[in-house]
Symmetry: D2
Subunit: 277 residues, 4 copies
């Protein structure tokens, strides 16, 4: 018996669940887990199903396409292990966490390479035998630099880019190459403290809780669909640098949780929101 | 269009979701929300469905009974507002919270009466115009006291008993009258600190977090299926009385969250666990 | 032996702790608890001391004044129970929570009256025997309305105003009458979602966590010093109204925690921040 | 100006803070931070002070000894970077997290070596250039095995042992060599689920929250003074293996937070509790 993952989204109409489960049942598959959701404001249907059986997955995919509206977006068994490239700058905590997880096969992804605009993290990446591309941004326009990064990415053709504390803003033209496939960790509880140095902003505002946000990247800075958020308490005794230190643990846990959700095919993007099963 | 809530659980077999959604579809109902779960160790199937349509609910119930195995436990539109009685002792925080919610119709339940083995909470209950039964346990055996409580309960025939800090242990014979229908709030993070004065136990153990647990009551003290838990941080500066004070807020929130889940028919009991949709 | 609370803040200089503890020691007082903090950016010293002894508090206050710089702000045994007035609009959850706590003397404050621009909460307040002033804002300018509120407040001369979901913006002239003595509960995790309907804003942004913030009110909307914050997780299944419902529990707990801190004289205001011991 | 850390604990008596701050003041030191606490049940005084100045630390230590009772336990500038050895078994998550932190000098400690009763983690440790001792427990009595571990430890003379998921119980005789200097991470919210496989216990009990506890090790299994605890939510959908996976993140964060507190000399042990400043 083989296990399958099925993701479907389409405009809602009566009988969708029935038609999907009928198709699976008639092909002798057994539903193991099933999650569905209808977004009322847009009248859009989302479903994620895990099922098992001995049938042919190409046959069942074809049958589902016949049973469902043409508008349905059907993904059966999306590539299990995602090919990814990490972009980093100077901070090691998210990168280190992901490298350890990768070394023990916990990521559901292959880290094909790490690209950085600085070379300080090269020794850490080298420990894990992963290619490291140092592409400095110095003396280059943003466009020139991004062109070089894109070129390096072409070697690997990753499914996802993970910005593991990549401290540069990306142009819309860069983002368009990996639409809905770039995941960023922002070091604040978005939408609070958008932009530069959120810990300093948080310190100056005197907040009692700080946080981190993992989100897909779109054209607007820090405005993409949020995948995961978490917070920790802070107090007046902490300088903004101490807040930043304390925040690192939140950042790395939030990023790895978000990646786990995305790489297990649990996340739908719908407008500027995520549906997560 | 009327909205309905359907709860089904039975031994798992192939095609259950298909048969259920087929039955609803053929009667022209539209599924609004759907949650299901199969417990692998016991091979038991659980499903909660919200659906809407113009059909007759008695007809659809009959059709579902025909479509599903005889062993299926099917509940369609369980009584919307639950009739409940609260049992309390001397502490006001859970009681007060529930009375305020009840006064503004947030409980999905009718508080028919409050029963207490002390009379200190009578004035609070009186503010809300709810019958208060003071049944002292003094000079009575446990059996005699429980007999008197049962007699008072007979007036109201509640669907659920809520132990909102009722500081007495219940005999199995009492519990058997309300099997799976008694909800207790225990002032610790179960299974830590079972039994008397958990805050003192927590203080003596030097824990850094304390909590509260809402659970169904069965024969074994503090061993029933857990519905909801939450925690707060404590530190060495707090005496056990200060921990108890801080814990009250957790207790009242955990109890009201648990009641919300149960009274919205989101909770299945399965052995000593809960399945919550 | 009488217990005393001493609050001191002044520009930092060498030997402040020494001079304070020397003064207490020489008057035969014993320090029970001691918290201090120096804000490095402003070089300002804060100290809160609980001490006990048989000496005269007026004598010790005078000695402290002599021992410390003229710039020192010294408060010894600030009025134990604070006189407060609550301002509310239509929502009952914070008000109800405070009334229950007040009925059982948990607030360290006397609720002298409740003032509202609507009359819907009058019955709840009446249950607790507290004066209720219905001062409608209809057909009045903001200034006229605030003038009437100020007039009502004059009857009570409260030390603090608590905005327990008072859904009106206050003019700077109103605020100036109770400078640093107005506490508001804002239904978001400030500085996220400043302004109107934060739950709708949160829903539209697709956040995974929502929160509440208790803060002192100053001239800028939602910009005053933050006292306490807390959060809860939300997900895509919740409408903004369901988020608002879930948020109520956070709001009431955050507000009551903030009031407890302020009314136990644990909070210093320093610029737009709070120092909390 | 040199910064110093001073830790004092002794039976409480009047004037301790005064005498300490007087001694510092007269030697021209400035107090930067000060925390103190008196445990009422045992009448014991604890104080941690950070101060700065140009004076000689040996001189000030001598003066403090003269000013304080003979019973006072005074530690001035405890060794800044702690020498530690890690004991591990097969799980990599805590070890990996500590190695990354160590590589970037975030631990306030030197990892002198890693000792394991299995050899699976050798490659990970090798990446970081740290000695790895594989001391199998097979075909040895517990006493024989511990004797070999003690022998290996003698090479390094560590100040602290960190049990970073070391899945063996230690004899009292072993523990006595490192009294109050062994820190363990237990994969449950102690005192819940003491002993073997706490995630399986948690799963079987149907809890809604799981946690982790970092504590000092004493003779009784999982009974030593607790340093740090944290929790995450779980639900019925998670198998005990999935709970264990989710718990790993909590374990590693709790362990590293506890180590940070201990290695910054913020933790007093008092009976079976910790006082943490």
């Amino acid at each position: 018996m083989t296990a399958h993952v099925l993701l479907i989204d389409c405009p809602d109409e009566k009988g969708l669940v029935y038609r999907i489960t009928k198709t699976l049942y008639e092909s002798d598959f057994n539903v193991l887990k099933n999650d569905e959701y209808v977004d009322n404001s847009s009248n859009h249907f989302f479903m994620r199903t895990e099922f098992a059986g001995e049938g042919d997955s190409n046959v069942i995919l074809k049958k589902l396409q016949e049973a469902l509206p043409d508008t349905a977006n059907i993904r059966l068994n999306p590539q299990k292990k995602k090919d990814i490239v990490l972009l980093v700058t100077k901070e090691h905590h998210c990168l280190g966490d992901l490298l350890i997880r990768y070394a023990y096969d916990e990521l559901n992804a292959n880290i094909l390479a790490v690209i950085s605009n600085h070379n300080v993290l090269q020794p850490l990446v080298a420990k894990f035998g992963i290619p490291f591309h140092y592409i400095s941004h110095l003396h280059k326009t943003r466009e020139e630099h991004e062109e070089m990064v894109l070129k390096a990415l072409k070697i690997y053709e990753p499914e996802y880019l993970v910005l593991a504390k990549y401290m540069r803003i990306l142009n819309a033209s860069f983002v368009s190459h990996y639409s809905n496939r770039i995941i960023n960790i922002h070091h604040s509880f978005l939408p609070a403290f958008i932009g530069a140095n959120p810990y300093k902003q948080a310190f100056n505002r005197g907040v009692k809780i700080i946080g981190a946000t993992a989100h897909f990247v779109n054209d607007d800075l820090d405005e993409g669909p949020i995948i995961e958020q978490s917070v920790i308490e802070v107090n007046h005794r902490q300088s903004w640098k101490e807040m930043a230190k304390a925040g690192r643990d939140v950042e790395k846990i939030v990023l790895s949780r978000a990646l786990k959700l995305v790489f297990q095919d649990r996340v739908f993007i719908h407008g500027n929101k995520t549906i997560i099963f």
